[in-house]
């Protein structure tokens, strides 16, 4: 009797938790459907290639232009810059924490780096607009401090905890025997690190970089505040640009529902969604390979 009651209880729990697990899948499907339903009408109204390849963005003008190439380029430049900053910072600090730091330094450093991830992005944006932008403007003698570089710098710092934390986990997963074997055949610490540990953790590190990239490309509030928002094709890192996310955030609030402009913002969201989806799939594939390589199975 008692055993039976327990079995029923367990079954109920199982159903509750599987329902919860599938709920997030439901949300994903819902969001994807909304993006497609609201975004695809644009391709009929404007044309797919004119949308992706056009270089002018005047969605509310009486002769509207819906070219998002400058916005895509804005996102790419800012993200590329952010990667150039967060990879050395994140992977470097992961190596330090894993290889060089004493147990006490490590216990102190890792939580603090991860704390960076907990700062709200609007705070980063405010920091960027009040402190970093004027500094860059004065140091480099630019007409304005709100540039692609400013955005990259701040996004780079924001993505660092992601890169550092996952890279450090990957380094940590490298079995102790690998190092011991390497030392046993006479390799020094540097050789062990560069020829054994890093290659063994390489796919984990790559996955961390890609996740950092998708963090950077999807970030909205910060880039809206610090990149200046000029919808032009970027020529240098030191000019204002307008990433895709900033465009949606700035324009969605006041657009007329159901208009071409409204659909175009959803279409930008759709493109962005596809980009981050590809990033995440690649990261998943790489880290799966990594687990297999170390003989940890799936």
């Amino acid at each position: 009797m008692k055993a039976n009651a327990r079995r029923i209880k367990e079954r109920i729990y199982k159903y509750i938790f599987s329902a919860l697990a599938f709920a997030s899948l439901l949300f994903l499907v819902g969001i994807t459907i909304t993006l497609f339903v609201e975004g695809t009408p644009l391709f009929k109204e404007v044309g797919f290639f004119k949308f992706l390849g056009g270089t002018l963005w005047y969605p509310t003008h009486s002769e509207p232009e819906y070219g998002i190439l400058p916005l895509i380029m804005g996102s790419i430049w800012v993200t590329a810059g952010a990667v150039a900053i967060c990879v050395p910072l994140g992977v470097g600090s992961a190596l330090f924490i894993n290889e060089l730091a004493s147990r006490r330094t490590r216990a102190f450093l890792k939580p603090f780096i991860e704390l960076l991830a907990g700062i709200p992005s609007i705070v980063y944006g405010f920091f960027g607009i009040v402190i970093v932008a004027p500094l860059i403007q004065d140091l480099l003698n630019l007409p304005v401090g709100l540039t692609a570089f400013t955005g990259s710098l701040i996004l780079g710092i924001m993505a660092t905890p992601t890169v550092c934390s996952i890279s450090e986990d990957a380094l940590n997963f490298v079995p102790k025997e690998f190092r011991e074997a390497s030392f046993a055949v006479g390799a020094n610490r540097w050789q062990t690190l560069t020829r054994v540990v890093i290659p063994a953790a390489a796919s984990g590190i790559s996955a961390s970089i890609i996740l950092g990239m998708s963090r950077a490309v999807g970030e909205t509030m910060t880039v809206l505040m610090v990149t200046g928002g000029a919808a032009v094709m970027p020529k240098t890192f030191f000019q204002p640009v307008r990433p895709m996310t900033a465009t949606i955030a700035a324009e969605m609030g006041e657009t007329v529902m159901g208009s071409t402009h409204y659909h175009s913002l959803f279409a930008i969201g759709l493109i962005l969604f596809l980009i981050t989806l590809v990033f995440n799939i690649v990261a998943e594939l790489i880290s799966r390979r990594f687990r297999l390589k170390l003989g940890l199975g799936r």
């Binding site: 005047y58 509310t60 007409p143 709100l146 809206l224 000029a230 032009v232 955030a249 007329v256």
Partner: protein
């Protein structure tokens, strides 16, 4: 025993009702949504109105002019704030939903063209402003200033402020594509105050000592000049309702239009309608 418990419960209920005073009886709710330009007016008026009418509860939300008018069309708010008139498309959409998008003018707003306080330029003509924003003029020395690049700051193209400025100052011509975009009046003012060569535009309510408002066609951006119509970059601010306002909503709009309400409008940096 049972009786005592009943008495205790009654006492507690009465106590809570007494403590919460008039709020326990707040029966009428007014929801206001829309333009961030009107947000300070709507908020301050709502507070003053609620102090006088304890039975009314008003909630004020931002979102933008488009959201304000859409909330009237969808009947998700009693008052939709907008810093631009409703478009024909929006009025037609309201009709489809059986909604009469009704216009109430509650205040005036001048758009101030602002520059860095350190910039020696004090005035611009409307044509010069237009040439700067469309890209024909790109150095301050062409309009009597220093030899420095002009950093053009604009608003997101779906904001009411942008729309009004684009119509009033630029005759609907396209803003140069490399103009910076900021998503709020405060963000524009902040960018201008930190960038020596910058020019931007904001609602007059957001003018402060951190930026310099320039004369347009020789007329400075002041309340008097907006009321008498000599300052050309000015616009009306609207509170839209579904049909002629009724009940508590009508009382609130009458309050905004009253002397007390218009004093609040002025205190928030806007221009009263009379």
């Amino acid at each position: 025993m049972k009786n005592k418990l009943f008495l205790k419960v009654m006492a507690a209920v009465t106590g809570i009702a007494l403590l919460s005073g008039g709020y326990a009886f707040a029966a009428k709710n007014i929801t206001i949504k829309g333009s961030t330009t009107l947000l300070p007016i709507a908020q301050a008026c709502a507070e003053a109105f609620m102090n006088q009418h304890l039975d009314v509860d008003i909630s004020v939300q931002g979102g933008g002019s488009g959201v304000g008018i859409a909330s009237i069309i969808d009947d998700t708010a009693d008052i939709g704030d907008a810093s631009r008139p409703a478009k024909d498309k929006e009025i037609a959409k309201g009709k489809e939903n059986g909604v009469d998008v009704y216009e109430n003018v509650v205040a005036l707003d001048g758009i101030a063209v602002i520059i860095h306080p350190g910039n020696p330029v004090t005035g611009l003509t409307n044509d010069q402003i237009k040439d700067i924003y469309t890209g024909k003029i790109s150095n301050w020395k062409e309009v009597g200033g220093n030899d420095a690049k002009i950093v053009v700051v604009s608003r997101d193209s779906s904001s009411g402020t942008f729309e009004t400025f684009n119509k009033l100052a630029l005759d609907d011509e396209k803003v140069r594509p490399d103009a910076l975009l900021q998503a709020s009046n405060q963000a524009v003012a902040m960018t201008i105050s930190r960038t020596k060569g910058a020019i931007g535009y904001i609602g007059m309510g957001y003018l402060s000592d951190a930026v310099k408002g320039v004369e347009v066609n020789g007329i400075s951006p002041t309340k008097e000049n907006v009321i008498d119509g000599s300052y050309i970059l000015a616009r009306k601010l609207f509170m839209y309702t579904n049909g002629k306002p009724k009940g508590a909503t009508a009382d609130f709009i009458l309050f905004v239009l009253s002397d007390d309400g218009q004093k609040i409008v002025e205190k928030e940096g806007f221009v009263p309608i009379k």
